[in-house]
Amino acid sequence: MEGRQRNSHLKQLEDEGIYVMREVAAQFERPVLLFSGGKDSICMFQLALKAFYPGRIPFPLMHIDTGHNFSETIEYRDRLVEKYGVDLLVGSVQKSIDKGRVREETGPEASRNALQTVTLLDTLKEYQVDAALGGGRRDEEKARAKERFFSHRDAFGQWDPKNQRPELWNLFNGRKNQGEHFRVFPLSNWTEMDVWQYIAQEGIEIPEIYFAHQRKVFNRRGVWLADTEFVNRQPEEKLETRTVRFRTIGDATCTGAVLSDASTMEEIIQEVATARQTERGNRHDDKRSETAMEDRKKQGYF
């Protein structure tokens, strides 16, 4: 850590994130860390490792599995769980569909992104989770700019923007009634750039699909989608092999790839630094309407 400035912003963000992790472990009985295999949850995991060192992370990981995954993500997840001996809880969207809790969307735009919400809430209830650590960042989207570190959800898992508690200094109020829970966002103050820089600084392994690779993709309204068994590609949507990488990792049906040759951490950071598009710009689900994110959030989306 030589040469690392005391007040470097990454150091401050890390100290803040560790503080939040410990606060969650102390204030709640059954917290989980929502783990998608994406870079944000990987960062969170790193903060958790640091927060409780030399002890083990005192809560399990929870993965909400849409069933529409990139295989690299799942492999990564399983390796991590094994290496650090943490527990993993999985909530399956497929199961929610099978049980009739949700109905699968149809048509070319079909995505399981919206369905995740129900599975998430069901799984949180099943394990009586009282705090779910999420990798959300306030810089991701306008609707998130007002999000708290400790975000209160009512008994229906809903977020009421008008009824959030003011958060002052570093005093987090995690009190709640039976059946309610909190979403907690230790990366609130991080930007996409901070996340990448932190991963580079810490030398953290990340799933391969974040780096440039050849893939069969097609273009839907400006977004490059991977050709997977889960996507209803229309006849007019032509497949091409391109060198791409992903800036976010979500459901394979709606996570767009970017054309990129960035194959090292350094190149990714360069690319992010000069990017002209937000990372969510490539998320197909946000393109549906101007306030898409906000609407989903009210229903209990991540």
Binding site: H9, L10, A145, K146, P166, L171, R175, E202, E205
Partner: protein
């Protein structure tokens, strides 16, 4: 594993090439500034933030497209930068911002976190929230409207929350033809008001958020303005100013106990610094031990500072749990279950005296009730009003009692151990935000805080006064007012500050003679004189300079109470030291006189031969040569001795003193 680029946690620098490391380290050197923005509706706050983001190239194409689309659909011309920051749908429809929103941008120098808070009358709560984590506040004033009550309210809240840097951005200069007069008159109005406040540093910048003048780029329209652009100021202002690196406090957040052999106490250091081997004490048990290790996953540390999240192990087996506090043996916070605080009420349901609340203070939670509302602050007039309760958005001075003792410092000295929130146990809502003034005198008499006034080995000497902010002066046998009556003039303190050779002493001496000639009671306190006696034990380190000025301040106060016009000539390079003296005296009875000239002029004059010594390397840290002088923001008089003669300056001061 073959597909992995790096192994988690195991650093292997050799794999990264040199360039990558360099690139990274440049980025790692960036620091962080958190600031808040406040303005009344339509002062242009959203436009300003949009402008900062836009001109610093922090806006992405898709965001730009989105606001272009929005601007078009609401029938506006051009791009409405304000839309960039307007968050929720309902607000966008009403075209107002109604909560604290956080924005992020970075320049090559710094990362910024903006807490964007609205300026409506009823939203004091949001401003307090945004201000609680800010190191700088931008207060927007609409040039075409002048200084309104609400800006004053914002300034007051900033001072209450002890934000170290204040920027008054006078916006919409384009609407007043970029007229310097308009700017100057707002600045002078603001200065007048700000004297009542406890703020360290105010910077005034004329801008047009809409056109972009002086936000990121300097444009020609205000050639009369020589100061920095807003962004330049944000990039260069000192960060960390609100941290206390003196008084070590670690509120224990979590205990890590992976096995029988390891017990670590985790938390984020609230203030001060600590090293392995340091002697510590645990509150509330008062058990003593030493630090054995400072543990992190990246290795053990030799030192940890305010802000660091760490795990400490100690030499002895002591029972410690969340809510306890590890401190130094000789520097202990006040342990008290009764204290006075400023309380900002944040809930629709009014605060009731005697009602049960929960108090969350550091990592400790207790039951609490408000025992007394000493007064309610009228945030517009800054006057005190009698009150029985506090309604939403009201601020008052209250006395609080808690079920178990808390480990407190005054908020002014230590934001982390001086702040708390109140929670309503019925609704679980956070209902109040508090800033501790002091343990109430009753509690102190019970002996709870005796130790805090003992040995202050590692606390700053200058802070001794702060430890007892509420000590009431024993009234004088013959009160000052009586002496003033007999003397037939008011007592006053005239503080001359400036580098050696600026002309302070010459002017002060001449002024004193004139005053004496007019039959005034006077005394002149001079730096050299005092350094031989009262401050003979002090050198010229920043700490010693602070202590010297503290002593002088109290001395001046005594002469003042004796009815004198006290002329003080001290280099006094630090703004905060001078402000501390100002705070000792009643409103309007302290005048700061900034005596200045070109450094070359001072070096030529060199009345005491100090510059010659500094040039030959004989002395170091000479103010005006190799050490800086912090010019005052709002001195009552500025005398440039390159331009003004001694006689002229003295004439001007005489008039000023007579008017006072």
């Amino acid at each position: 594993m073959s597909e992995s680029k790096h192994l988690n946690g195991e650093k292997d620098m050799s794999k990264k090439d040199q360039k990558e490391t360099e690139e990274l380290s440049r980025y790692l050197d960036m620091d962080l500034l958190r600031f808040t923005t406040a303005g009344s509706v339509d002062d242009g706050k959203s436009t300003l933030i949009g402008r900062l983001l836009y001109d610093s190239k922090s806006i992405f194409e898709d965001q730009m497209e989105a606001i272009e689309k929005s601007s078009r659909s609401s029938g506006e011309e051009g791009v409405n930068l304000a839309l960039l920051t307007d968050g929720l749908k309902a607000e966008r429809e009403q075209k107002i911002t109604i909560d604290v929103a956080y924005r992020y941008f970075a320049t090559p120098k710094r990362k910024f976190i903006i807490a964007d808070t609205p300026g409506h009358v009823q939203y004091t709560r949001n401003m307090v929230t945004g201000a609680s984590t800010a190191e700088l506040a931008i207060i927007l004033v609409d040039a075409s409207k002048g200084l309104l009550t609400q800006s004053k309210r914002h300034a007051f809240i900033s001072s209450l929350l002890q934000i170290p840097h204040l920027v008054v951005a006078v916006n919409k200069m384009d609407l007043v033809d970029y007229d310097e007069e308009v700017f100057s008159s707002i600045v002078s109005d603001f200065r007048k008001f700000a004297k009542k406040l406890d703020v360290d540093q105010i910077t005034y910048i004329p801008i047009s958020a809409l056109k972009g003048d002086n936000v990121v780029n300097n444009r020609e329209n205000m050639s009369w303005y020589n100061g920095p652009t807003l962004l330049h100021h944000l990039e260069t202002v000192k960060v960390d100013a609100s941290h206390n690196f003196i008084d070590f406090r670690l509120p224990v957040q979590y205990v890590i106990r992976p096995n029988q052999n390891f017990r670590g106490f985790s938390g984020r250091i609230a203030s001060g610094r600590i090293h392995p081997g340091d002697e510590v004490m645990v509150l509330p048990s008062r058990m003593k031990s030493r630090i054995s290790e400072i543990v992190t996953r990246d290795g053990q540390l030799d030192e940890a500072l305010a802000g660091d999240s760490v795990t400490l192990t100690i030499e002895d087996e002591i029972d410690i749990s969340r809510g306890d506090m590890i401190v130094r043996r000789n520097n202990v916070p006040t342990v008290s279950s009764e204290f006075e605080a400023y309380l900002c009420w944040m809930d629709e349901e009014a605060m009731e005296k005697g009602k049960n609340y929960l108090i969350q203070h550091t990592s400790r939670t207790a039951q609490a009730f408000v025992d007394d509302v000493i007064y309610r602050m009228n945030v517009d007039s800054l006057s005190r009003e009698d009150a029985e309760r506090l309604e939403l958005n009201e601020i008052g001075r209250v006395r609080i009692k808690t079920s178990t003792p808390l480990f407190i410092d005054s908020y002014k000295l230590n934001q982390k151990t001086g702040s708390f929130i109140l929670i309503d146990p019925g609704t679980n809502r956070s209902v109040g935000a508090g800033m501790i003034r002091s343990a109430s005198t009753a509690a102190a008499r019970n002996g709870d805080s005796i130790e805090s006034s003992l040995d202050t080995k590692d606390s700053e000497p200058g802070k001794a006064t702060e430890k007892s902010p509420d000590v009431v002066w024993e009234s004088w046998n013959i009160p000052r007012e009586v002496r003033e009556k007999r003397n037939q003039h008011q007592a006053h303190v005239l503080w001359f500050t400036g580098i050696s050779g600026s002309g302070k002493s010459t002017i002060a001496k001449e002024l004193e003679r004139k005053l004496w000639g007019k039959g005034r009671q006077t005394i002149l306190l001079d730096g050299d004189q005092l350094r031989h006696g009262l401050s003979g034990d002090l050198g010229f380190s920043p700490e010693d300079r602070t202590e010297n000025i503290r002593r002088v301040g109290h001395l001046a106060r005594l002469f003042f109470e004796h009815g004198n016009i006290v002329l003080c000539t001290f280099v006094s390079p630090f703004r905060k030291d001078r402000e501390a003296v100002r705070a000792l005296l009643p409103e309007g009875r302290f005048s700061e006189i900034f005596v200045t000239c070109e450094p070359e002029t001072a070096q030529d004059r060199d009345p005491k031969g100090l510059y010659a010594k500094a040039k030959s390397g004989e002395i170091r840290g000479l103010t005006g040569f190799d050490a800086g002088h912090e010019a005052p923001d709002s001195a009552e008089f500025v005398i440039d001795t390159d331009k003004e003669s001694v006689e002229e300056a003295v004439e001007r001061l005489l008039k000023g003193v007579d008017a006072a």
